[in-house]
């Protein structure tokens, strides 16, 4: 019974951490954040490898291997495509992005060119 409580504790704390770490995200980054979070749950690959590696029947092995392929697509594809998006964000504007937050309404933006 004690062990269940430990699991519950981990779960509840993870919920709070999950909400807390992204609570201040700017809408600019919603798409990469969604894509990056998407890649993280690709870690189901760990589970897929475990069940496939202990499979005792051929059917089990085949289903397990399918799960491994799907999970890898999720994980690898997710991280790569997120990086591709963020690479573009980091383009020309990068060095100045820090100062863009405090630019007043009337200030001119010619400097950006």
């Amino acid at each position: 019974m004690d062990e269940s409580i430990v699991w519950l504790t981990i779960f509840v704390l993870s919920v709070f951490v999950g909400v807390e770490v992204i609570s201040k995200v700017s809408s600019t980054l919603h798409t990469p954040l969604m894509s990056g979070a998407n890649a993280i749950h690709g870690v189901i690959l760990v589970g897929a490898v475990l069940v496939t590696g202990t499979a005792e029947s051929t059917a089990g092995l085949v289903v397990g291997l399918i799960a491994v392929v799907l999970a890898t697509v999720n994980m690898v594809g997710g991280f790569v495509v997120t990086d591709r998006m963020l690479q573009m964000f980091g383009g020309r504007g990068r060095s100045r992005s820090a100062s863009s937050g405090d630019s007043g309404t009337g200030s001119t933006k010619e400097a950006g060119r």
Binding site: S23, V25, G77, F79
Partner: protein, 462 residues
């Protein structure tokens, strides 16, 4: 018992994931955050292979190689306009993987012997993983089909849909209970099939504009199913990672829904209640003021302040590069130009930022809605390109309109408004835009890319 060093390695991977999500929340750290997340995933995967004497290592490695290849090629080939589809697809396969893992674990659990040997809650979690995983899989595929326009983007409704939905849900719960009482593979398969059906039924009635919110929701679902799978397998890393994504995804979904001025329930089930995401979808024949590229060029070239409101139509026409050139020319002429980015511009929240970043628009020219909305009053021209619903005043003035309550860009406060449009067809929400008929509004009809090139040349020759 899992060895201590493995547990510690999982802890490190979990910390990496938390740092990754934190990093992804800020433009400066986003890319590094994503790479940290990838490192966490690599650690986790490497540990599994090192941890135990696994059988079938070679076929597993081949499967990993195949999956990596598919993932990398898909990620490299995709066009930025198709990003929402790809995220949906990646999310769906993750859900599918979670469901398959739980099904295999169910076989293992049911062979373990009498019911007493198997903790009841393990089976509850197994059923949950199978159900949510397969729901996320099929739901994501339908989402993909909608966004790729393999099927209609409008809400699909048929009589009896609520009954079918409720019936399948109840059946899934009933069979799950049966699965917990008498563990066997077949109820697991039935739960999976019901999950697949419900995923389709959940997404069908959602209209095009709301589909991105559904992607985010299904993303959270997959996270939760991975978390439950972690409990079943006794793997803390899966529990933590899945829960992080589930919680963050749910929170993000709510933020997106509120950016559109809607509740999540209204997004999902609005169409069922009738009319909510369904506009008339017809073009009006009321008189509008149409203009040519030369006139707009004069308007823009001699303005002091121009605010551009880009929409998905811009990216579909691949006109964002030409737009950037136009802005460059205007800035050289001394015009102050900014882009006003609505939170849901594009087909996915934050999508427009990605699309403009691709066209190498400097980050500091992109202004978020709250930042720029006060400036429209001083703007000489608001140039609306391929956007519609995000500047529709009906969101402020017409209770009962599908977009009523959605915060919008105050383009109507600019001295002059220029709309670049292909036709008078309404936007995603399917409702007419009063702004088109305002006296200070000029319409520039035509394909965004061609018209933009003409406009660019006209401004250059001023």
């Amino acid at each position: 018992m899992i060895p201590t060093w493995v547990q510690l390695a999982y802890l490190v991977a979990a910390i990496f994931f938390i740092v990754a999500l934190k990093g992804l929340s800020s433009p400066r750290t986003a890319r590094r955050g994503n790479l940290i997340g990838a490192a966490g995933a690599v650690i986790a995967t490497a540990v599994v292979f090192a941890e135990r004497d696994l059988d079938h290592v070679l076929p597993i490695l081949v499967a990993v190689a195949v999956g990596s290849l598919v993932g990398v090629v898909g990620a490299q080939r995709v066009q930025m306009t198709q990003m929402p589809q790809l995220v949906a697809l990646f999310n769906g396969v993750g859900g599918g993987a979670a469901a398959l893992v739980a099904l295999l674990e169910l076989v293992e659990l049911s062979e373990r012997g009498s019911v007493a040997d198997v903790a009841g809650f393990d089976l509850v979690a197994t059923a949950f993983t199978i159900f949510i995983g397969s729901l996320s899989f099929s739901g994501s595929l339908v989402t993909f089909a909608k966004l790729q326009e393999l099927m209609t983007t409008r809400p699909v409704l048929f009589p009896g849909l609520p009954v079918a939905f409720g019936g399948s849900l109840l059946a899934a719960i009933a069979v799950s209970v049966l699965l917990v009482i008498t563990p066997a593979l077949w109820p697991g398969v039935v739960v999976a099939v019901l999950g697949l059906i419900l995923g389709v039924l959940l997404v069908l009635p959602v209209g095009g504009a709301d589909v991105p919110i559904v992607i985010s929701l299904l993303n959270a679902f997959t996270g939760l199913s991975v978390a439950a799978g972690g409990y079943v397998l006794g793997n803390t890393l899966l529990l933590v990672a899945g829960t992080l994504v589930g919680a963050a995804g749910t929170f993000l979904t709510r933020m997106m829904a509120s950016a559109m001025g809607r509740s999540l329930a209204n997004t999902l089930f609005g169409a069922l209640k009738g009319g909510s995401t369904l506009g008339a979808g017809e073009a009006s024949d009321r008189p509008v003021r149409s203009t040519g590229p030369e006139d707009v060029a004069i308007l823009l070239g001699y303005a002091q302040r121009v605010i551009i409101v880009p929409g998905y139509g811009l990216a579909v026409a691949q006109a964002q590069h030409t737009l950037r050139e136009l802005v460059d020319v205007l800035i050289e002429r001394g015009v102050q130009v900014d882009y006003a980015i609505h939170p849901v511009a594009g087909r996915m929240p934050g999508h427009m930022n990605v699309l403009l970043a691709e066209a190498q628009v400097p980050y500091e020219q992109l202004k978020e809605m709250d930042e720029i909305n006060g400036d429209f009053k001083q703007a000489d021209v608001a140039l609306v390109v391929g956007a519609n619903d995000v500047v529709n005043p009906a969101a402020r003035t017409t209770p009962g309109a599908p977009i009523y309550g959605m915060p919008i860009l105050n383009a109507d406060e600019a001295h002059q408004v220029v709309f670049m449009k292909r036709s008078m067809r309404p936007g995603f929400a399917g409702i007419e835009n009063e702004l088109l008929f305002n006296p200070q509004t000029n319409l520039l009809f035509g394909d965004a890319k061609q018209t933009m090139s003409k406009l660019l040349n006209a401004v250059k020759s001023l």
